[in-house]
Amino acid sequence: MKITRRTFLKISGATAAGTLMGGLGFDLSSAELYAQELRIKGAKETTSICCYCSVGCGIIVHTDANGKVINAEGDPDHPISEGALCAKGASSYQIAINPNRLQKVRYRAPYSTSWKEVSWDWALDKIASNIKKSRDASFMEKNAQGQVVNRTNGIASVGSAALDNEECWLYQKFLRALGIIYIEHQARI
C-alpha cells in the first residue's frame, strides 16, 4: 500500500492511542479511536480555498448528513499549504456555525433608530426603484465640454475582493450597465 500523508496520520494516530495503555494501565485505544473518528464520521468532504489572505491554502470542509458544517481543516493534498492553516483558516468553520451571522434582510428607514426585518422581494424591489430614481436624476449624456459620457453620476460602489471571480465580473457588468463610474474596492486601499 502506498502510504499517503493522510493514511500515515491514521496509522500514527492509532499508534499514539495504543501507547496510552502503558501509561494508564488499561486499554483506551478503542475508545480513543472511536472518539477521534466520531467528529467527522460519515461526513462529506468538500474542497475549498481559504477566504482570508492571498496565499490560497486548501481547506476541506466536512458536513454531516443534514448538510451542516461540522469541521474545516487544512487540505493535505494542496501543494502550497500541504495541510497547514493559520489561526484564521483553522477557525473558518466558525464562520459557518455562528449565531451572529446575518440571516435576515434588514431595513433601516430614514431617521429611524432601529432595524426592521423585511423580505427579499420587498428589499430588492425598493433597491431597484431607488437605483432607477438616482440613475434617472443624475444621468449625464454629455459633460460640460459637450463630450458624450453616458454615465450615472449619482451612485457609487465599493466592493469586493471578498467576492468570487465570477461574482466580481458579474458585478462590474451590473454596475457598468447602470452607467456607474465610481467603482472601487479593497485593491485601492
Binding site: S92, V149, G154, A156, A177, Y182
Partner: protein
C-alpha cells in the same frame, strides 16, 4: 506576483520589506523555511521587530516612509561594486536606451514640473528614437545620456551616510543588507522580494516598488525561478477582483475604461500601445480584439459592428477624471451621490480618515450593505457621535453566503485561479452574492422595460442569461469570462484566437483558457511537477495561459539555454523547435542577436529601469511622507512628493513637524484578525486570542511619557483619536534621524466600535486622506501621532484568593 508562493523555495536570498510575511501570510512561510533549509538567507527590513524578524538571518530597522532612500542606497551600492548582471542589463532592460536631452533632475524636481497644477509635463522624459522609430541605444552603456549613466548619476547622492540619516538604519546594517542582496547578481543566484501594504500605502508607494524593480532587473532576478517582484496581497481574491476590473480605471483584463475623449471604438483603439521595433512583441497590440470580445460578453447579439459593438453604451470618464477611493468619499462627503453600494466592504473602518467616511455616509439617500456579518458601515447611523434621528440615509442590509456556502473561483497572489465547491447552504435567508446581483439587475431591467427612463439602452441590451433550470448558474458566468467562438458556439481554447470582428466573446482575455471544452481548469487537482521547480502546471490554473512565472524568457541566454542550469525554468529544444519547461512568455524562438525581446507586455520589449510613464518621475526619488518628523527632506528642497493631491478643509487636515504630534505612527495587522475584522471579530476563538486594539511603543518612549505596559492610552492625530492598551516592548526602538531621536509607534487596524463592545476603534480614524499620485492608495503606513496615558485608568478587577 510575477512568480508564486512555492517558488520562494527556489531563492538564494529572500528580502521581505514592506511586509510581515510570518504573521500576515503565515502558511507561505513554509516555502521561505524550505529555502532557508537549503542555505538561503532571509532578510527582513521593517520599522518593527515582528515574528518575521525572529526568523530572519538579517533584520534591520528603518523609519516608516523611507524605503526609497534605503533602496536608492542599494542601487548605488550595486553599481559602485559592479554587482549587477551585465548581460541581463544590456540585453533585457532599457539601460542602454538614450534619453531625451531635455530630461533633467534638479533638487528634487524632474524636468517639466508645473507648480501651479502640481503635475509634470512628461514629454522631456521620452526615450530617443531613430528615423525608423526604433529606440536609440548605446550597448557600451557609456553614453552620458543613456539610462545606465543617468541611473548612476541619480543615485550617486544616496550615500550610506545620507541614507542612514534619513532612514535611521545604522550604516553597518545598510551595508550588510546591500552586500547580501547584491550577491544575487550572478546568473546562478536568485533573489526575490516579498512586499505588502508596507510599500503600497505611501505617497511614494508605486516608486517604492519601482525602486525594487530596478534592483531586480540590475541583478537579473526578473523572469527566473526564485526571483521576481512579489506582492503578498491582503485578501484571498483581491488579485481576482482587480483582474475582473472592479476599479474605476480598468475594465476586466486591465483594459483602460473608456473616456470622453474617445467617443468611438476607433478613437479608443488609437491609444493601443504600439512600437515600430520589430524585436518587440508588444502584446498589448492585441488590445482591440480583447475590447470587442469584452463588449460581446456585455451585450451579446445586441453588440454589432454597426453600433460599435455597444461601445457607446459604456459609461465614460472625463478626460483626466480620477474616480478612485479617496475622491469617491470626498465626493460623497460633498453630497454628490444619492445611492451607494458597500458590497462585501466595511469602509467605515477600512478607509483612510474613516471619520470622514462615516460623516459622508450620512449624506446619502440610500445605501445597500451586503455582508456575512453586521458591520460598522451598515450600522454607521447609530455609531459613536451619530444621532439616528438626524440621519436620512435608508439602509438595506442584505445577508450573503460565506465562502463554503457557494461555488466559484478565487485567484491568489501567485495568479492561481482555484475553484471552491459548495459545502453547505447559507444560514437563514442569506444568499450567495451572485444570486443577489443577478436578481437585483432583473428587477432594475423590468422597471426600465415598464417605465423607460434615462438612456435605457445599456440596461435593456445587457446580456443577462446565466440561468440553468430557472436558477442562477455560476458556471455560465465562468464560461462567459473564458469566452466563446460565436461561429461554432464552442468555448475558446485561449485568448490567442480572439478577434475584433464580433465573432468571439470573452469577458476577460487574461482568463481565457480557464474554462474550455476540456473542462474547468481552475478545478484541477493533479500534482505533477515536471520541472521539479514546484510549478504544478496541472493544479488549478493560472493566468496568463497557465504561465507560472511571467517574463520567463528572461531566464535564458540568447540561444535559449537556461542561464542558471540548477533552476532551468525554460530551455529551447532546437531539434523539436519548441520550449521545454514553463509555458514560455511567448513561444517565439530564442532571441539570438536580432530576435524578440522577453518583456512582451512592455512596448519596448525590455524591462524599464527608466520608467517614463509614471506621474512622479522616471526614477524613484526619496520624499518625506505628507506628515513627517523632520522639517527638511535631506535629499532635496521638496519635502513631499511634488505631485500628490492635497485634500484640505472640513475633516481633512494634516500636521507635519507639529510638536502636538511628535511620533511616527504606522498601522498593521495581526495573524488572528483580517482586514477590519468584519469576519474575525465575530469568531469566538479569534476574538479571544486578540480581543482589543493596542498601541506598541518602545521602552524609551514609554518612560518618556510615563506609560506602563498594559496602561490605557490615547493615540491621537490631527484627524481623530482612539483608546488603546499600551504594549511597551523592545520590538520598537527609537531612531536617530538627522541627529534627532525620533520615536515610532504602531496600531493594528482590525477593530471597530460594534463588536466586541470593549474592543476599541478603527486605527483608520487616525490616518490621513492622501494618496500615491499614480494609484491614489492612501498613506496609512506613515503619519504623525501623539500618545498619552489616559488619566483615568479603568478600575482593576480585584483578584480573588
Amino acid at each position: 506576483m510575477t512568480n508564486h508562493y512555492i517558488d520562494f523555495r527556489n531563492s538564494d536570498v529572500i528580502l521581505n520589506m514592506g511586509g510581515n510575511v510570518a504573521e500576515n501570510h503565515p502558511v507561505s512561510f513554509k516555502w521561505i523555511q524550505a529555502a532557508k533549509d537549503k542555505g538561503a538567507i532571509f532578510i527582513h527590513v521593517d520599522p518593527r521587530f515582528t515574528r518575521t524578524s525572529t526568523k530572519a538571518d538579517i533584520f534591520v530597522r528603518l523609519r516608516s516612509g523611507t524605503d526609497i532612500a534605503f533602496l536608492g542606497g542599494m542601487i548605488k551600492y550595486i553599481l559602485d561594486h559592479n554587482l549587477y548582471d551585465e548581460f541581463y542589463v544590456k540585453n533585457y532592460t532599457n539601460a542602454s536606451f538614450i534619453v531625451n536631452p531635455k530630461y533633467s533632475f534638479e533638487d528634487g524636481l524632474f524636468s517639466g514640473y508645473d507648480p501651479a497644477k502640481r503635475t509634470y509635463d512628461k514629454s522631456t522624459w521620452a526615450l530617443e528614437k531613430d528615423e525608423q522609430g526604433i529606440p536609440k541605444r548605446d550597448m557600451t552603456l557609456q553614453d552620458p545620456r543613456c539610462v545606465f549613466q543617468l541611473l548612476k548619476h541619480h543615485y550617486s547622492r544616496y550615500t550610506l551616510e545620507k541614507v542612514s540619516q534619513i532612514t535611521g538604519t545604522p550604516v553597518a546594517d545598510l551595508e550588510k543588507v546591500y552586500k547580501t542582496y547584491g550577491t544575487t547578481g550572478t546568473p546562478d543566484k536568485a533573489g526575490t522580494v516579498l512586499y505588502a501594504m508596507g510599500w503600497t500605502q505611501h505617497t511614494v508607494g508605486v516608486q517604492n516598488i519601482r525602486a525594487m524593480s530596478i534592483i531586480q532587473t540590475l541583478l537579473g532576478n526578473m523572469g527566473i525561478a526564485g526571483g521576481g517582484v512579489n506582492a503578498l496581497r491582503g485578501e484571498s481574491n483581491v488579485q481576482g477582483s482587480t483582474d475582473q476590473g472592479l476599479l474605476f480605471h480598468i475594465l476586466p483584463g486591465y483594459l483602460p475604461t473608456p473616456r470622453a475623449q474617445w467617443p468611438t471604438l476607433e478613437d479608443y483603439n488609437k491609444t493601443t500601445p504600439s512600437t515600430k521595433d520589430p524585436r518587440s512583441i508588444n502584446w498589448w497590440r492585441h488590445r482591440p480584439k480583447y475590447l470587442v470580445s469584452f463588449l460581446k460578453s456585455m451585450f451579446g447579439e445586441k453588440a454589432t459592428k454597426e453600433n460599435d459593438f455597444g461601445y457607446p453604451w459604456m459609461p465614460k470618464l472625463d478626460p483626466t477624471q480620477d474616480a478612485s477611493w479617496l475622491n469617491l468619499f470626498d465626493e460623497m462627503y460633498k453630497g454628490t451621490f444619492t445611492g451607494f453600494f458597500a458590497w462585501g466592504m466595511n469602509p467605515a473602518c477600512s478607509s483612510a480618515n474613516a471619520g470622514k467616511v462615516r460623516q459622508a455616509l450620512a449624506k446619502l439617500d440610500w445605501m445597500v450593505n451586503v455582508n456575512v456579518f453586521d458591520n460598522e458601515t451598515g450600522e454607521f447611523w447609530r455609531g459613536p457621535g451619530m444621532d439616528p434621528k438626524k440621519i436620512k440615509t435608508e439602509v438595506f442590509q442584505l445577508p450573503c453566503a460565506a465562502f463554503m456556502e457557494k461555488e466559484g473561483s478565487i485567484s491568489n497572489s501567485g495568479r492561481w485561479m482555484q475553484w471552491r465547491y459548495k459545502a453547505a447552504n447559507p444560514p437563514g435567508e442569506a444568499r450567495p452574492d451572485g444570486d443577489i446581483m443577478y436578481e437585483l439587475f432583473k428587477k432594475v431591467r423590468a422597471l426600465y422595460e415598464k417605465e423607460k427612463g434615462a438612456f435605457p439602452e445599456p440596461i435593456l441590451n445587457l446580456k443577462w442569461d446565466y440561468e440553468t433550470d430557472g436558477h442562477f448558474d455560476i458556471h455560465k458566468v465562468a464560461k462567459e469570462i473564458n469566452g466563446y467562438d460565436l461561429t461554432t458556439g464552442k468555448l475558446m481554447a485561449n485568448f490567442v484566437g480572439l478577434k475584433d470582428d464580433g465573432t468571439t466573446s470573452c469577458g476577460n482575455w487574461l482568463y481565457s483558457a480557464s474554462y474550455t471544452e476540456a473542462g474547468n481548469m481552475a478545478a484541477r487537482r493533479k500534482k505533477t511537477d515536471p520541472t521539479g521547480l514546484g510549478l504544478y502546471p496541472e493544479w488549478s490554473w493560472c493566468w496568463p495561459l497557465n504561465r507560472r512565472i511571467i517574463y520567463n524568457r528572461a531566464s535564458v541566454d540568447l540561444d535559449g539555454n537556461p542561464r542558471d542550469p540548477k533552476r532551468p525554468l525554460l530551455r529551447w529544444d532546437p531539434s523539436g523547435k519548441k520550449w521545454i519547461g514553463d509555458v514560455p512568455d511567448n513561444a517565439v524562438p530564442p532571441m539570438g542577436t536580432n530576435g524578440a525581446y522577453p518583456f512582451i507586455m512592455k512596448p519596448d520589449g525590455v524591462a524599464s529601469i527608466f520608467g517614463p510613464g509614471l506621474n512622479d518621475g522616471p526614477f524613484p526619488e526619496h520624499y518625506e511622507p505628507l506628515e513627517c518628523p523632520i522639517e527638511k527632506n535631506l535629499m532635496s528642497s521638496q519635502r513631499i512628493n511634488p505631485v500628490v493631491k492635497i485634500f484640505e478643509g472640513g475633516p481633512d487636515s494634516f500636521a507635519s513637524c507639529d510638536p502636538k504630534y511628535p511620533f511616527v505612527c504606522t498601522t498593521y495587522r495581526v495573524t488572528e484578525h483580517w482586514q477590519t475584522g468584519v469576519l474575525t471579530r465575530w469568531l469566538p476563538w479569534l476574538i479571544e486570542a486578540e480581543p482589543q486594539v493596542f498601541c506598541e511603543m518602545s521602552l524609551e518612549l514609554a518612560k518618556l511619557r510615563g506609560i506602563k505596559n498594559g496602561d490605557r492610552v490615547i493615540v491621537e492625530t490631527q484627524r481623530g483619536k482612539l483608546e488603546a492598551v499600551a504594549i511597551v516592548t523592545s520590538r520598537l526602538k527609537p531612531f536617530t534621524i538627522a541627529g534627532q531621536t525620533i520615536h515610532q509607534i504602531g496600531v493594528p487596524w482590525h477593530f471597530g466600535w460594534l463588536q466586541p463592545k470593549d474592543g476599541g476603534e478603527s486605527a483608520n480614524l487616525l490616518t490621513p486622506t492622501v494618496g500615491d499620485p499614480n494609484t491614489m492608495i492612501p498613506e496609512s503606513k506613515a503619519f504623525m501621532a501623539n500618545v498619552r496615558k489616559l488619566t483615568k485608568q479603568p478600575a482593576k478587577k480585584a483578584v480573588k484568593g
